[in-house]
């Protein structure tokens, strides 16, 4: 009532028009933020090979915040979690555990302000990929990467998942290719007093990776340094250290 009284008193429509413009702008902004970000480059295989070769790729194959590793992936969208900062682009690596699918996507993050960014994943193999469980399709998001990046884990990484987390993720899940190692441990270097043993993934075909590490995230941290330490009969092999940014 007071609103209409104000209009009547001022005898002007400038105020409601101003309000409408602001409201329309907010709706447009919200709609724009909900629109998935399309990739600027997408490199995926045309066909899925029946036989795959095994090569010496980086030990850290995936890093995600999935709630349930046994549920099937929701294939069309990805959720990238970002802290505030000037991020230029992200390279997302998607690898299936059986080694048949290996794709790289690049997204332009210029001007993105949201903490959770929805990324579109316009794959032509969605029917096959949708049959995989979250533990069978690894995601790795590299920040401010260069075009054609191979995903070397010395760079900065962001957490990424197949769907929006229902609540603030408390655990970071790392998918590892242990190579010749018979044991793998992960450490948050901010809390180096404690390391966490990784476990072998069961019930599936695991060629690209076969080990799952769960690392609890310390609260109120903007980034953590994660160390993946493989062992062969007690002897330390070359570790992998990655910096992970957390919103």
């Amino acid at each position: 009532m007071a609103f209409f009284a104000t209009i009547r008193q001022t005898r002007s429509f400038r105020y409601p028009i101003f309000i409408c413009i602001i409201a329309a702008n907010s709706i447009c902004t919200a709609f724009a933020e909900d629109q998935p970000l399309a990739p600027t480059a997408f490199n995926e295989p045309d066909s899925l090979p029946e036989r795959v070769g095994v090569n010496g790729q980086s030990p850290l194959v995936g890093m995600t915040f999935v709630d349930d590793l046994e549920s099937n992936v929701r294939i069309h969208e990805l959720t990238l979690r970002l802290p505030s900062g000037n991020w230029e682009m992200t390279c997302v690596h998607v690898r299936s555990s059986d080694g048949r699918y290996n794709a790289q996507l690049e997204y332009d993050l210029t001007g993105v302000t949201s903490r959770e960014v929805t990324l579109s994943f316009p794959t032509k193999h969605s029917a096959w990929l949708a049959t995989l469980r979250a533990s069978e399709l690894a995601l790795l998001a590299e920040l401010n990467c260069h075009s054609g990046s191979t995903g070397e884990p010395s760079r900065r990484l962001a957490t990424i998942g197949w769907q929006r987390p229902r609540e603030e993720p408390k655990t970071l899940l790392l998918l590892i290719n242990p190579g010749q190692a018979d044991d793998v441990k992960v450490t948050n270097l901010a809390d180096a007093s404690r390391d966490y043993r990784c476990t072998r993934l069961q019930n599936g075909t695991f060629v690209s990776y076969n080990t799952l590490c769960q690392l609890p995230m310390l609260p109120k941290t903007s980034s953590i340094r994660v160390k993946v330490q493989p062992y062969s009969f007690g002897k330390k092999l070359v570790p992998t250290v990655a910096e992970v940014v957390i919103p």
């Binding site: 795959v52 095994v54 010496g56 059986d98 080694g99 290719n177 242990p178 190579g179 010749q180 190692a181 018979d182 044991d183 043993r197 072998r200 599936g204 075909t205 060629v207 076969n210 062992y231 009969f233 007690g234 330390k236």
Partner: protein, 253 residues
């Protein structure tokens, strides 16, 4: 006839020459493993030479590797909440608690002595073959045989229902077993490890790196074809039916 369909307990009997196997210790008492001049180390690199028995606790994963005529490597680690993989008893009967992860190494010179061989009794869940098959110097299952034993319909003996040859590079695991596996590992002047064990119940899964593998279960056909008692019973029944039919025809004519 109904007895043919009656479910019967199955036993898997496995004999293999392998370079790697993994044991998950059961809640039952694990047998003592005797060592001679073994080097025990922890993950921090502290080493000691040890002669005597070691007893592993429940919820410990023991990985046993030996490639060719090389050293015997054993890695044990806790998989539960325990803070020790077990105890070691030295020659003075002193009991020492072991750390949560240890590596035991027995050098090839000790293993290839002609008058000495190591026998390790095993109780637990056994996985045969390598878990690290990413090329290079990976330990593998060399060869073996998996037999499925079933009890005969009458009596206490068992018959071989079916058998599968195990090929190089395969992994063997028994899922949903009704209890732990029991068996022995032999380490001597022969290359690798020789394992022989049996497991009651469940389903054997044979996998090769990169594949989902296949399952081995007892089938009704195998049972009918191989159980000597059941086979005799069915043969007698068919003969009796044949004779009855012939007698009926003969009496009608």
């Amino acid at each position: 006839m109904l007895a043919t369909l009656w479910p019967i307990p199955l036993t898997f009997k496995i004999k293999a020459e392998t370079e790697s196997l993994t044991i998950q210790t059961a809640q039952t008492l694990f047998p003592l493993w005797n060592f001679s001049n073994a080097v025990i180390s922890d993950y921090e690199g502290n080493e000691e030479i040890f002669t005597g028995p070691i007893q592993f606790r429940p919820d410990v994963e023991i990985l046993v590797n030996r490639i060719g005529h090389g050293p015997l490597m054993i890695r044990a680690r806790c998989t539960g909440t325990e803070s020790s993989v077990g105890e070691k008893f030295d020659e003075n009967s002193t009991v020492d608690r072991l750390p949560p992860e240890i590596v035991v190494r027995v050098d090839e010179a000790i293993l290839t002595r002609s008058n000495e061989s190591f026998v390790f009794p095993v109780v637990g869940q056994i996985k045969l073959g390598s878990q690290t098959s990413y090329g290079g110097s990976s330990p593998l299952l060399k060869e073996g045989k998996l037999s499925l034993l079933c009890p005969t319909l009458v009596g206490r003996s068992r018959f071989e229902s079916t058998s599968v040859d195990l090929d190089p590079g395969e992994d063997v695991e028994i899922d949903d077993a009704s209890g732990p596996s029991f068996g022995l590992i032999f380490v001597d002047e022969r290359p690798g490890l020789n394992a022989s064990y049996s497991t009651a119940g469940g389903e054997a899964r044979i996998k090769r790196f990169g594949s989902q593998g296949y399952a081995v279960q007892g089938s009704l056909l195998d049972r009918i074809a191989n159980d000597p008692v059941l086979r005799s019973f069915w043969a007698a029944t068919v003969a009796l039916l044949g004779w009855a039919t012939w007698w009926k025809k003969d009496s009608n004519s």
